[in-house]
């Protein structure tokens, strides 16, 4: 085990958590991410591996889950796979092992910061942040959008788990500020 101590995207030793009225915003560093892009001509084989991994091939706007691993569509024949960091820090290597020459796999864990927004009224918050049709979205849907000028993914995870927001890690502070401001404004 190496001796380098990680910090969160917001620069802390422990994840930040904020509560505003019935809303909770939690910085989530416990996710490993990797992109999987089918190689040209290998799409069918790549889909098979995806199915073996999460029992589905997510289409545009879809996020599928199986055994703690999520995958959502990011562009034609390209997906983002997420899994618990503790057990999957080497997610990219694990996936490369599985997909072999059928896909290009790139570690994306620290390219993104992740915030989980839960509680009552998350829809009101999102309406102040981005144009995703939040009130008609259901669990398992995901949208690429712009929040505070930042390219983000918004994943709907159901009424209990709320929303998961991925944004660029270097701007985690700005994104967090935007989310918190909207929470205060909406609640």
């Amino acid at each position: 085990m190496h001796d380098l101590q990680p910090i969160t995207a917001l620069g802390g030793q422990i994840p930040r958590q904020d509560t505003v009225a019935a809303l909770m915003l939690t910085e989530n560093p416990d996710l490993a991410l990797a992109s999987v892009a089918a190689r040209l001509g290998q799409e069918t084989a790549c889909h098979k591996h995806l199915k073996a991994l999460i029992s589905a091939v997510p289409g545009p706007g879809e996020c599928k889950t199986a055994k703690g691993t999520d995958a959502f569509w990011t562009s034609p024949d390209m997906w983002m796979v997420t899994a618990p960091f503790g057990t999957h820090e080497d997610l990219a290597a694990q996936l490369k092992q599985r997909f072999k020459a059928t896909a290009s796999v790139t570690e994306q864990t620290d390219a993104w910061c992740c915030f989980d927004l839960t509680g009552t009224g998350v829809e009101d918050v999102m309406e102040l942040l981005c144009p995703v049709p939040i009130r008609t979205m259901v669990a398992g849907q995901v949208q690429r959008t712009s929040i505070d000028h930042l390219g983000c993914f918004v994943v709907h995870r159901g009424s209990t788990d709320g929303l998961r927001i991925f944004g660029p890690r270097s701007s985690a502070g700005s994104l967090h500020h935007a989310l918190l401001t909207a929470m205060r404004s909406a609640s």
């Binding site: 380098l4 969160t8 040209l40 864990t109 009130r135 505070d148 890690r169 994104l175 401001t181």
Partner: protein, 984 residues
């Protein structure tokens, strides 16, 4: 002051009595009042001064179309000039002041303009302030601006915040009058997702201003019940105090919700307003209609208002402008006002109806065929002169006059996408016509259906039609019967021969101005508007445009539809700039990007610099250092002497994978990449299609099918976009996949003679990074700190023995701490962007200043890198004759002849003995710095034929900063030109 002109009844809440201050005087009003209604109740008719002539004015309307009652609302930094008293919702403690007057509203010095009005006809400015031209900016404009003012700004930052938001719906209903409510009820019952937007703070529209019944209820009661019914529907969202300001493409509407304008200070964390972008599948415009005035001599005195407004003040707000009023009308609606006012106990001095067949009344005198030909009362109406068909005149004593010239449907939203309204003779008005914005339906008075019954059924029918488009079969809501009297109107625009008949009261445009404009050949309606300024004030001519068009048609001998209308543009009502800005202001203007070592750098007291959105450490001052140069010189010297560390995460990183990855890069870069061995890095130059240099960087081959490309910080996004374009559009048959990894890896440069020794203490011992095992331009995947995955690249920007080491970003903070600790024995320094810049200039490396979008590989001295044995982007066009002349610009270095002289970037170069002008320009300095190693300033830049001019003395000039001295042309590589240090 008592509320002298407060009537009985109304929709105000008398249990809440509030105090407000107007022009320093405290008065009382009630919850539910607007500022205008409360002022009228307090017998205040004079509320403002006009723009040009400073004429005393009172409210003309009771809504957002108001041209006259324009005030400054609130105080201090919250002061907002040019707001309409007619829409300002009263709250306890509200402070308002009149504007455009001095010293007071009653005694305004600039009213002298009114006496001189014959000199101020249309086009006065254009005709008068012609010469001398120099006087315009210095003299005329400041004087005119001061005289023709609106309100004043406080000049302090707005303390309130504004939000932006996004809503989605099946059906957007614009306006919550009878048509809008019927539409909402119908669509709501059908289960559609409905947004009902209403600019007023009470829903119901004209139902709240009228006395007639809807079914068994008063119209206002029916509206309130319907609103309760809608509020109970989870699929209906009601947005009160929300103005739809524009109809945009694809069913998108802009809306401003005034969240906190009706309270003194917004609640903590709450915005003052929200600018909503509403994505609608279909929309119903139920925006009602606006009454229009009639032009007659002196028709602008305080107390003269639209008849429908007078009725609204009485019925809804229980306020009357005076106890004795008269009516001037060309249609039946004026009579309704007289009846309602009479019922409220107000004396009716008479109804003057231009129609000879005007209906008669038992309770007040009606002057059929009469016209109002003059009025009296400087600060408020005292009487009007009526001229009867017989030619005899009669004077009616009255404190207010209600004027009705008919109603104009509010067609604005139907025209925001260049649609033009169509003239309807039966209502003598423009109604929606031609092409409507896709998905927009119109109902009620906005459609020209002026009866309540027609509004109700029309609203329901519009909702049914809209939902039908969406495949939802809706049934019209069951609606009560309502008044359905036919509208009888005889067009009457202005009293002939009136000397000063005001059309646009806010901009002081008279009927005579329109006639003059036509005489002077401004015959296009758009020219008329700009020449006279008719309709150009903050009310956008809502009450004045159609009368203006009518007069223009009359003088041109045309029909009104032939004259046409001017363009309707958003926003529908004035919108605060703050609402457009939203939260993106001050420190939140744009997001900030922080490097992985940001926390550490802050601890060290680093001075940060904005590089695009990035915040980078510029230098790290040490105790005792008082000038940035001391810090930077130290950082450079220590790095070149021993070892320095710099966070270079901001450089773009693009992961390129696929079986065609090498072939793809071979197209992207102008130099060869097909055969880069695994474990090697190559410097690459990419060209644009036009052959101009785009960016430079490196590509490291981590595997046969895997490269990591680096870009400059500035071009990280542009290069990635370019590569995606090439992948998707130019070479879709290549097997290559791209993704940005800029933020995924924390990357540090470790440079200096002791760089390897330092890294050997950090990199796990199983990885041999000796010069033999890991030579210059080597790369590989390694581990650090006992097993953390990392990447090592032996590349150098400083010219020193250097590496770049990368770890997953979350470990970047730990890595820099670890390296600084490991480097203690070598006296390691961490350097910022300034030292980075100094070292790259000393080494003669090109950066953004040199890759400035105008320079070629030839200019950069890299012409031979453009490989001609292969095809790459930009290769062919880089061969253009004009880009390949002898004597073209070449990148060289400059050294001052007098070593104390600076070499400022941006200076131009002249051959000795020639004059300083563009014709003799020989090139320019792109980057410059003080070189601590050489002990003097140096620069690099482009010089014509620079490759053959080494040793020549040229003249460096910067007329802007007063520099003019000699510099020697030298090699751009000031430090280690042979590159021995890199390979050590």
């Amino acid at each position: 002051m008592t509320q002298k002109n407060r009537l009985d009844g109304g929709l105000i809440d008398r249990s809440e009595t509030w105090s407000f201050k107007f022009d320093g005087k405290w008065m009382k009003g009630h919850k539910g009042d607007t500022l205008a209604s409360a002022l009228l109740a307090n017998d205040v008719r004079l509320m403002g001064r006009s723009f040009k002539y400073h004429r005393p004015r009172g409210p003309l309307t009771a809504g957002s179309e108001e041209p006259n009652a324009i005030v400054e609302l609130r105080e201090g930094a919250r002061k907002e000039p040019n707001t309409r008293a007619t829409t300002a919702e009263l709250f306890d403690g509200l402070v308002a002041n009149s504007q455009n007057r001095w010293p007071s509203l009653k005694w305004d010095v600039m009213a002298i303009n009114d006496r001189l009005s014959s000199f101020f006809a249309a086009g006065f400015y254009y005709k008068t302030f012609m010469w001398p031209a120099a006087f315009w900016e210095k003299l005329y404009e400041p004087i005119i601006r001061k005289a023709a003012g609106l309100g004043t700004l406080d000049h302090r930052p707005d303390p309130d915040t504004y939000d932006k938001g996004f809503l989605h719906c099946d059906l957007l209903i614009i306006g919550a009058g009878p048509a809008g409510l019927a539409a909402a009820l119908t669509a709501g019952q059908a289960g559609a997702q409905v947004i009902l937007a209403e600019e007023d703070f009470v829903l119901g529209g004209r139902l709240n201003a009228e006395t007639y019944a809807v079914g068994d209820d008063m119209g206002a009661d029916w509206a309130a019940q319907t609103v309760s019914e809608l509020e109970a529907m989870p699929n209906v969202r009601i947005l009160a105090r929300t103005t739809i300001i524009g109809a945009f493409d694809h069913g998108i509407y802009g809306a401003v919700e005034r969240v906190s304008d009706h309270v003194a200070v917004p609640a903590d964390g709450k915005p003052r307003q929200i600018l909503w972008r509403i994505y609608s599948k279909q929309a119903v415009l139920a925006a009602g209609a606006t009454e229009r005035p009639i032009g007659f001599h002196m028709n602008d005195r305080p107390g003269i208002m639209l008849a429908g407004a007078m009725r609204a003040y009485a019925n809804r707000w229980a306020a009357t402008p005076a106890q004795n009023v008269a009516i001037f009308t060309n249609n039946d609606d004026g009579h309704r006002t007289a009846r309602d006012m009479h019922a409220k106990g107000v004396t009716i001095a008479g109804v003057v109806d231009t129609r000879t067949d005007a209906p008669q009344s038992d309770v007040f005198p009606v002057y059929a065929g009469g016209q109002i030909t003059n009025t009296q009362g400087r600060l408020g109406l005292t009487c009007v002169e009526v001229t009867l068909p017989t030619g005899t005149t009669r004077t009616l004593t009255c404190g207010a006059l209600g004027v009705s010239g008919g109603w104009n449907p509010n067609v604005h939203m139907t025209c925001h996408q260049r649609g033009r309204p169509a003239w309807r003779d039966d209502i003598a008005a423009f109604a929606p016509g031609g092409t409507l914005p896709p998905g927009l339906h119109v109902a009620g008075a906005a459609m020209g259906d002026f009866t309540t019954q027609a509004a109700l059924t029309g609203g329901a029918a519009a909702a049914v039609a809209a939902l039908d488009v969406l495949g939802t079969k809706a049934k019209a809501a069951s609606l009560p019967d309502a008044d359905d009297g036919p509208v009888s109107i005889t067009p009457f625009w202005h009293v002939q021969g009136a000397k000063r008949a005001w059309l646009d009261q806010q901009n002081d445009v008279t009927a005579k101005d329109v006639v003059l404009a036509h005489k002077e050949n401004f015959t296009s309606v758009e020219h008329l508007k700009r020449y006279t300024t008719l309709g150009m004030a903050t009310d956008q001519g809502k009450t004045s445009n159609v009368p203006g068009l009518a007069i223009m048609a009359e003088v041109a001998g045309k029909q009104i539809p032939e004259v046409g209308t001017t363009m309707f543009r958003p926003p529908y009502t004035p919108t605060a700039i703050g609402a457009f800005a939203g939260r993106s202001r001050d420190a939140d203007f744009r997001p900030v990007r922080k490097t992985p070592s940001h926390v550490w750098a802050e601890e060290q007291g680093a001075v940060f610099v904005e590089v695009g959105m990035w915040l980078r450490a510029q230098w790290f001052p040490r105790p005792g250092e008082t000038h940035w140069r001391q810090s930077v010189d130290r950082e450079v010297a220590q790095t070149r002497k021993s070892v320095g560390i710099c966070d270079v995460t901001t450089l773009g990183k693009i992961d390129v994978q696929g079986t065609d990855a090498a072939a793809f890069l071979n197209k992207i870069y102008c130099n060869p990449f097909a055969k880069v061995p695994v474990g090697k890095v190559r410097y690459g130059l990419m060209l644009r299609e036009d052959g101009i240099a785009m960016d430079d960087g490196t590509a490291a081959r981590l595997a046969e099918d895997h490269f990591v490309v680096t870009t400059t910080t500035a071009n990280a996004v542009g290069v990635y976009r370019h590569m995606e374009f090439v992948r998707q559009c130019l070479f879709p048959d290549m097997d290559v996949q791209l993704i940005s990894t800029t933020e995924a890896w924390a990357q540090f440069s470790v440079a200096g003679p002791n760089a390897r020794k330092l890294l050997q203490k950090v990199v796990d011992p199983e990885h041999d990074i000796s010069n033999e095992a890991f030579p210059y331009m080597g790369c590989g995947e390694i581990t650090v700190g006992g097993g953390l995955r990392a990447r090592l690249f032996r590349i150098s920007f400083s010219g020193e023995l250097a590496y770049e080491i990368a770890v997953p970003t979350r470990y970047g903070d730990a890595l820099i701490r670890k390296m600084v600790e490991a480097g203690q024995e070598f006296d390691v320094v961490v350097y910022g962007t300034e030292a980075l810049g100094v070292m790259r200039i000393e080494k003669g490396h090109a950066a953004g200043n040199e890759l400035n979008g105008t320079t070629t590989a030839q200019n950069l001295g890299m012409g031979r890198m453009v490989n001609k044995k292969k095809d790459s982007i930009g290769s062919t066009l880089s061969e253009r004759e004009g880009l390949n002349q002898d004597g073209d610009l070449r990148l060289v270095g400059f050294k001052p002849v007098n070593l104390d002289d600076p070499v400022p970037a941006g200076s131009h170069l002249m051959t000795k003995g020639t004059s300083v002008d563009a014709a003799h320009d020989q090139g320019y300095v792109t980057s410059a710095c003080y070189s601590p190693n050489l002990g003097h300033h140096i620069g690099i830049g482009y010089l014509k034929g620079g490759d053959t001019r080494q040793g020549e003395i040229v003249r460096l000039v910067s007329p802007l900063t007063g520099q003019d001295h000699d510099v020697e042309v030298v090699s751009a590589h000031f430090v280690d030109p042979e590159g021995d240090r890199l390979r050590a």
